[in-house]
């Protein structure tokens, strides 16, 4: 800790007035990612810095965060940019080493989680001797076992030196180096050894070979142990990431690194192109978002048109002021709740979007008198019953396994799906029902049967279409969204969580 802090202080002293310059570049980066930082907030940040010891990195970061970032959702972006622009000098400068042709061709954004699960191919040890590598791995294991933060950090640094084979000026991203380092230290191996050590400790001095799950250690303890190990490894991984980033910044400069690592805010991540990690984060965002929306809607509903004067309550209230009605009281009208029908295309690329929509709608289903859901590819099936459970995850899984959505070949056929939908359920669509159709309207050149949609629009209260494709792609290739769209009350581009929230909010007001 102390080394890094003094280094950091030195860096600041070295830059002198450069501090302001760095800060402004940092602000520019924040604005580029979409975090709004006003001028007065920048000034606040600058004046806050005169109150804290600049050598205290945590306090420094907290001051910048508190003065410039006013939304919890923007914190991740702030974090990432901070680590780049106010990076500590790396432990050792980047050393040259031989390249591995095969790995160079690897994609930068390869999904690391896959690798981490599959585990342990032995990798080339970046030129270091075998015994050195063994000793390093052993010291990392010891550090993790004792949960010793500074040793974990120095282990991570050495691991980067030995395994990542970083070279100045090479156009590869941090993910690639991270992959190499983690492969080099055999993360899975470490995890297994840590879990075994933990179990032995629990059993309490028994002979080590007997340590197996369920053997002298309860399932609960096993779970806690596993989480503990994961947490330590996570610590190690983030140290490795930090070190790699530091070296990259040292090599290329902060602006360049920021440019390559820049990610959109989560609420603006495109559903269709989200990575599996982003998907998981998005899914966990939906419920809180829905809860907030629900509270907001309930509040607005109570407030809008206060209703007629409640004579009885007003009279009663006036008794306490001698019969003078100082405060009029109103009746609260009962708002009518719409009935909602959601019809989702769940073929290939738009499936994830359909899942988000369904999850969101069911999370706020109290706002509607009834929600019915249907899914289709080239055949349509009702899945309302799947959602009669508390577990949305299970419902979505059942859609995948049980819904009967394939008629001929399992390629989207909107025309057929809509015709069948109308045949089967059309008579139940009434003037109370709002219908939402989601899909990209890529119909594989089948016939559109758009007149069915026109019929549906006539019979329902509202008919909306949500399209997860960017507007520019509509009606290109086999997309026929306009053919349907002319009959709908609105066709909305919904590519991210922000747009989905805006749409659902407007829906309840209709």
């Amino acid at each position: 800790m102390s080394i890094t802090d003094t280094e950091y202080k030195d860096a600041l002293l070295r830059t002198g007035e450069g501090m302001q310059k760095t800060l402004l570049a940092f602000v520019d980066e924040l604005r580029l990612v979409g975090v709004p930082v006003s001028i007065s907030e920048v000034l606040d940040a600058l004046s806050s810095l005169s109150h804290i010891p600049l050598s205290d990195r945590t306090a420094f970061k907290a001051s910048l965060g508190a003065t410039m970032v006013k939304n919890a959702a923007h914190y991740a972006a702030f974090d990432a940019a901070f680590e780049i622009f106010f990076a500590i000098k790396p432990f050792e400068s980047v050393e040259g080493s031989q390249t591995d042709e095969l790995e160079e061709s690897m994609k930068e954004d390869s999904d690391l989680s896959d690798f981490l699960q599959s585990g342990e191919q032995p990798g080339p040890g970046g030129g270091a001797g075998d015994t050195d590598v063994q000793a390093l791995l052993e010291s990392i294991f010891e550090a993790l076992l004792n949960d010793n933060e500074s040793e974990i950090r120095s282990g991570a640094r050495q691991a980067v030196t030995v395994f990542a084979s970083m070279e100045p000026g090479r156009p590869v991203g941090g993910t690639y180096y991270l992959y190499r380092t983690l492969r080099g230290v055999h993360v899975e191996n470490l995890a297994r050894r840590l879990r075994e050590a933990g179990r032995k400790e629990h059993v309490g001095g028994g002979d080590g070979d007997a340590a197996k799950p369920g053997d002298g250690i309860s399932a609960l303890e096993e779970r806690l142990l596993r989480e503990d190990v994961d947490r330590r490894l996570e610590k190690f991984k983030s140290e490795v990431k930090d070190e790699i980033r530091r070296r990259l910044v040292d090599d290329r400069g902060a602006e360049a690194v920021a440019k390559t690592t820049r990610k959109p805010l989560l609420e603006e991540v495109d559903f269709m192109h989200a990575t599996s990690v982003e998907m998981a984060e998005l899914r966990s965002m939906i419920n809180p978002l829905a809860r907030r929306l629900q509270a907001r809607l309930a509040m607005r509903r109570r407030h809008r048109n206060r209703g007629r004067l409640d004579v009885r309550k007003t009279m009663r209230e006036s008794l306490s002021s001698g019969g003078v009605p100082l405060y009029p009281r109103y009746k609260h009208p009962r708002p009518s709740k719409p009935e909602l029908w959601i019809v989702c295309d769940i073929s290939g690329s738009v499936a994830s979007f359909a899942r988000f929509t369904l999850q969101f709608i069911y999370a706020i289903q109290l706002q509607f008198s009834k929600v019915r859901s249907f899914v289709f590819i080239d055949e349509v099936d009702e899945v309302t019953d799947f959602f009669k459970t508390d577990d949305l995850g299970k419902a979505l899984q059942r859609i995948n396994n049980e819904a009967n959505v394939v008629w001929i070949d399992g390629h989207s056929d909107y025309g057929n799906a809509f015709t069948r939908f109308y045949q089967r359920y059309g008579d139940q669509v009434t003037k109370k029902s709002s219908v939402i159709i989601t899909g990209d309207a890529r119909n594989n050149y089948h016939s559109s049967e758009a007149e069915v949609i026109a019929e549906l629009a006539d019979h329902s209260r509202h008919l909306f279409w949500l399209n997860p494709e960017p507007t520019a792609y509509w009606d290109t290739g086999d997309s026929i969204v306009s053919e349907y769209g002319t009959h709908c009350e609105g066709v909305h581009e919904v590519r991210n969580l922000k747009q989905l929230e805006v749409f659902v909010e407007s829906l309840v007001d209709h």
Partner: protein
């Protein structure tokens, strides 16, 4: 119409300067810890800065991470009076700032009618301090000693009321038409909390320091349990913290709050539990979780069915 009420304010000048509360960052941590609040570095830094920059703190985070508790602890640690304005929809000037005591005024007018008074006399007599009900906001800036003002759940008031709060907290004066202008006698330490049910106005956010409190990590939660339930030994506190952490990682309707983990630790202590096993965990899980579906899920995931 300027009455004796604002005669004792410091003239036209600024609010009397108050001494800083905290000597240093460490001082914040130590004194908060003395009140059994365990701040992390971020919380301590923001509290310290807010005092130095004389800015309000806007505090967000999931329910039950100790936002309100933080305000109370700041008050306790600084030895200042604690005033709380609980927000709700429909909160207005009359409930936040001040209100005339109409009923008492009516009585006064009726009592005066017996005698033969000029209207001016009556008016003067019913619009003075005796008939003014001060509400939290006015009370906070009108107090001769600086206070800690907590504006709780500010996201629940309408945007107009939010503007009113903002005006009072930036001008530090209140105009009462019948009466004159009341200038602040001291500058309060202000904390606002929000559950983020709606976006607060840009103006409010700009003027505040922002503090997002997350669920604590295991070490901090263990320290919190030990501070609040000193009878619990370290091993039990550690286990409680780890299980609570584990449960929070599940996808639940409502994750356990810190106060619920503290309750759980107390419960276990009362039951004389030294070490949590599947049976005790299962039978006391309802202290931690409040939905049946959540309880079932936790039992399944932790394999304590």
């Amino acid at each position: 119409m300027v009455t004796e009420l604002n005669a004792d304010t410091a003239g036209e000048g600024a609010i009397p300067a108050t001494l800083p509360i905290w000597k240093s960052l460490e001082d914040v941590s130590e004194r908060l810890a003395d009140t059994n609040y365990v701040p992390d570095d971020q919380i301590a830094s923001v509290i310290y800065l807010a005092d130095r920059l004389a800015k309000p703190i806007l505090c967000e985070g999931p329910a039950g991470v100790g936002k309100t508790e933080l305000a109370k602890s700041v008050a306790a640690a600084s030895g200042r009076r604690f005033i709380r304005l609980q927000c709700y929809e429909g909160l207005d000037e009359a409930k936040a700032l001040y209100e005339w005591n109409y009923k008492k005024q009516l009585l006064r007018i009726q009592a005066d009618q017996a005698k033969d008074h000029e209207w001016n006399e009556i008016e003067d007599s019913i619009f003075n301090e005796d008939f003014l009900l001060t509400r939290p906001l006015l009370e906070a800036i009108w107090s001769p000693e600086p206070v800690v003002l907590l504006i709780d759940e500010v996201d629940r008031v309408e945007i107009e009321t939010e503007a009113l709060l903002l005006e009072v907290l930036s001008d530090f004066q209140v105009s009462i038409p019948e009466f004159g202008t009341l200038r602040a006698r001291s500058q309060p330490t202000v904390l606002l909390t929000s559950n983020n049910t709606r976006e607060l106005s840009e103006a409010l956010k700009r003027r505040c320091l922002y503090l997002h409190i997350k669920y604590p990590d295991i070490d901090r939660e263990r320290a919190i349990i030990q501070a609040r339930v000193p009878e619990a030994d370290e091993a039990l506190a550690d286990q409680v913290a780890r299980i609570a952490h584990s449960i929070r990682s599940l996808d639940l309707k409502k994750a356990p709050s810190i106060s619920e983990t503290i309750d759980w630790a107390r419960t276990l202590l009362l039951l004389g539990v030294k070490k949590i096993d599947a049976v005790t965990a299962k039978s006391t899980l309802n202290v931690l979780l409040k939905y049946q579906s959540d309880i079932e899920k936790a039992e399944r995931e932790l394999e304590i069915e």
